[in-house]
């Protein structure tokens, strides 16, 4: 438009730093994920609530959990206190940083019509969801790494016996949580209610899937029922990764649980996920 013609002196700076911008090349899954993830990370840094949930809450929760577990003797706990802390801590970090903050940011993007706008572009639906989840995932993984090193050095926990199982469990948990966050947005009307709608999964997992209370400490029937909870399967892999003591058949149950919940979640996302606000 001719009305605001200005000099081009500073206009090329953003283009140069923008990577894909100005290069004139085709967009790929990688450039799209990077662009969406970068924007989401910027937004996370500017949102005090989400930043608090993603950075301070995990620390606070792990501290709280450890304090309360200290009062329980190891026989009741079933596993060493240090192991209970790192295992439960890993789950807690992922749940808070991946699930809770993603739910609220997806709702915010939906209500601002950002998701709908993005869907008119080249990014696929899966890329939009994955791109939104990237910053939370990266932060969560960094925190898990700190927890692992910290547990090893400060809490005298043993190193993970089966790192392969640990990583498998964590990746499975992240994928499942991204899907569950997407499902949760469909019952969340606005950002303010995200705290409430994410609570059920948080509580059920904290006490039933071994985040706050090791599942070894649950009484018989409760322990059996807790096998069915959404995060019990992936948490079993995390636990096995740390302790290397999977009971026979328990990993099979865990795998079945994970696959079942993954299928159910995927179906629910397709069925109920909304890309634009309800009018």
């Amino acid at each position: 438009m001719s009305t605001q013609k200005q000099t081009h002196t500073d206009t090329h700076t953003p283009a140069r730093t923008g990577g894909a911008a100005g290069a004139g090349r085709a967009s790929t899954t990688a450039t799209r994920l990077a662009a969406l993830g970068r924007a989401e990370l910027t937004l996370l840094g500017r949102n005090r609530n989400n930043l608090f949930i993603a950075v301070l809450m995990p620390l606070l929760m792990i501290f709280l959990m450890r304090t309360s577990l200290k009062g329980v003797d190891e026989a009741t706990l079933g596993i060493p206190l240090s192991a209970a802390t790192v295992i439960g801590g890993t789950g807690t970090v992922l749940l808070l940083v991946v699930y809770m903050s993603l739910t609220s940011s997806l709702v915010a993007r939906r209500e601002e019509l950002v998701l709908k706008r993005l869907r008119t572009g080249e990014a696929t639906d899966a890329e939009i969801l994955a791109g939104s989840a990237l910053p939370g995932t990266a932060i969560a993984l960094a925190q898990c790494a700190i927890l692992t090193v910290g547990g090893f050095t400060l809490l005298n926990a043993d190193a993970p016996t089966r790192p392969d199982l640990l990583i498998l469990g964590m990746l499975g948990m992240i994928a499942l949580l991204v899907g569950l966050a997407a499902v949760t947005t469909s019952i969340t009307r606005g950002v303010e209610s995200a705290g409430l709608t994410t609570l059920p999964l948080f509580l059920v997992s904290a006490f039933g899937s071994g985040l706050f209370v090791p599942r070894d400490a649950l009484p018989g029937l409760a322990a059996d029922l807790s096998d069915l909870l959404p995060l019990s399967g992936v948490m079993e892999f995390v636990r096995a990764g740390w302790l290397g003591t999977a009971q026979s058949g328990s990993l099979l149950t865990a795998a079945l649980n994970t696959v079942a919940w993954a299928v159910l979640t995927g179906w629910a996302v397709r069925r109920w996920f909304r890309w634009e606000p309800r009018r």
Binding site: M1, Q6, T11, P14, G18, A20, G24, A35, L43
Partner: protein
């Protein structure tokens, strides 16, 4: 795809360079609850053409555009953009089109430059940020957060994103709604410039002036159907001209010459005609002969506005032109 039987001729051709930019065949879109927003649209837009979909709110313009953009699958009929199904072959279509929704959405905490950068990462062959912003007059606003932009500036940013990949086909859903007069003129200039460069533009609007000045061809939609289409001149020419006046109280409408197909609403008379000059001469002759004074006499040629208002006033279920309510004068 599934409709080979219906359109064998086009279906078997490879999507050649000659395929129309946009092609809708008996396009339908139903929503849950049985409401059908788009009820069998057929039209095509040639490459390099500016095509306007006109209609009142609720006519089905946005529902139609969303089908062509590939945001939803039609419940019937077919949509083709650049020879491809925009929904099933979105990967082929999206890099070549630009879209501006009626209500755009950008994260309110991002700056203008960050938004363009995000969009550029998702766009093949994206222009440099500076160029994109200069095109819509947002130069110098790079560091401003979206939430601090005015409504008009947001529309311009939205437009900048739609233009970022130098699209061959551009969809603009009410691009100037919410803009002031100057912003509207700037957008028109931009659309004309794009057309001159060969870009195909499909825009929706409820501003008649916009359709009339910008569009090579237009279609007027009403209740999910196209009721009139053609060049602005053709659409106007199809409409009758109109004569309006008020008769003195003591002259019944029935005294008017029968040849003038007049409709009366009390003493107010309206004549619709395709022979304005002849009918007007007859009317004035009759008035002079009988010494009748015609109050508020107003005769005007057909205009797009007339066509539009006529269509917009049509009732719920009939697609017949609404006659002024009353008894036809004999």
């Amino acid at each position: 795809m599934t409709d080979e039987a219906r359109t064998p001729a086009t279906e078997h051709q490879a999507p050649a360079a000659e395929a129309p930019a946009i092609e809708a065949t008996d396009l339908k879109r139903g929503y849950g609850g049985g409401f059908e927003a788009v009820r069998g649209l057929t039209f095509s837009v040639a490459r390099g053409e500016v095509f306007a979909l006109l209609g009142t709110n609720g006519a089905g313009k946005t529902s139609t555009v969303e089908l062509l953009e590939g945001l939803a699958a039609p419940s019937g009929g077919t949509a083709r953009v650049l020879g491809h199904d925009p929904y099933r072959e979105r990967g082929l279509v999206r890099p070549r089109i630009g879209v501006m929704l009626q209500e755009g959405g950008f994260p309110s905490d991002l700056t203008v430059a960050e938004t363009i950068r995000m969009w550029a990462g998702c766009t093949s062959g994206a222009r440099p940020t500076g160029e994109a912003l200069a095109a819509v007059g947002l130069t110098g606003r790079e560091k401003v957060r979206i939430k601090q932009l005015s409504g008009g500036e947001r529309r311009r940013l939205d437009l900048a994103c739609a233009l970022l990949g130098r699209p061959e086909v551009l969809f603009l859903d009410e691009p100037t709604t919410g803009l002031d007069a100057e912003g509207r003129r700037d957008t028109w200039e931009l659309v004309r410039a794009l057309r001159d460069q060969g870009t195909t533009v499909l825009l929706t609007t409820h501003y008649l002036e916009e359709a009339e000045t910008l569009a090579d061809r237009l279609a007027i939609m009403h209740r999910g159907r196209i009721v009139l289409s053609g060049t602005p001149a053709e659409v106007t020419a199809a409409q009758p001209a109109r004569i309006r006046f008020t008769l003195p109280a003591h002259v019944p409408a029935a005294h008017l010459p029968t040849r003038l197909r007049a409709a009366a609403d009390g003493t107010r008379i309206e004549i619709r005609t395709h022979a304005l000059q002849d009918d007007l001469a007859d009317l004035l002759g009759w008035a002079r002969e009988h010494g009748v004074r015609l109050g508020g006499l107003d005769a005007r040629s057909a205009s797009l506005e007339e066509a539009f208002l006529d269509i917009a006033s049509r009732t719920e279920d009939t697609d017949a032109p609404a006659a002024p309510k009353e008894t036809a004068a004999r």
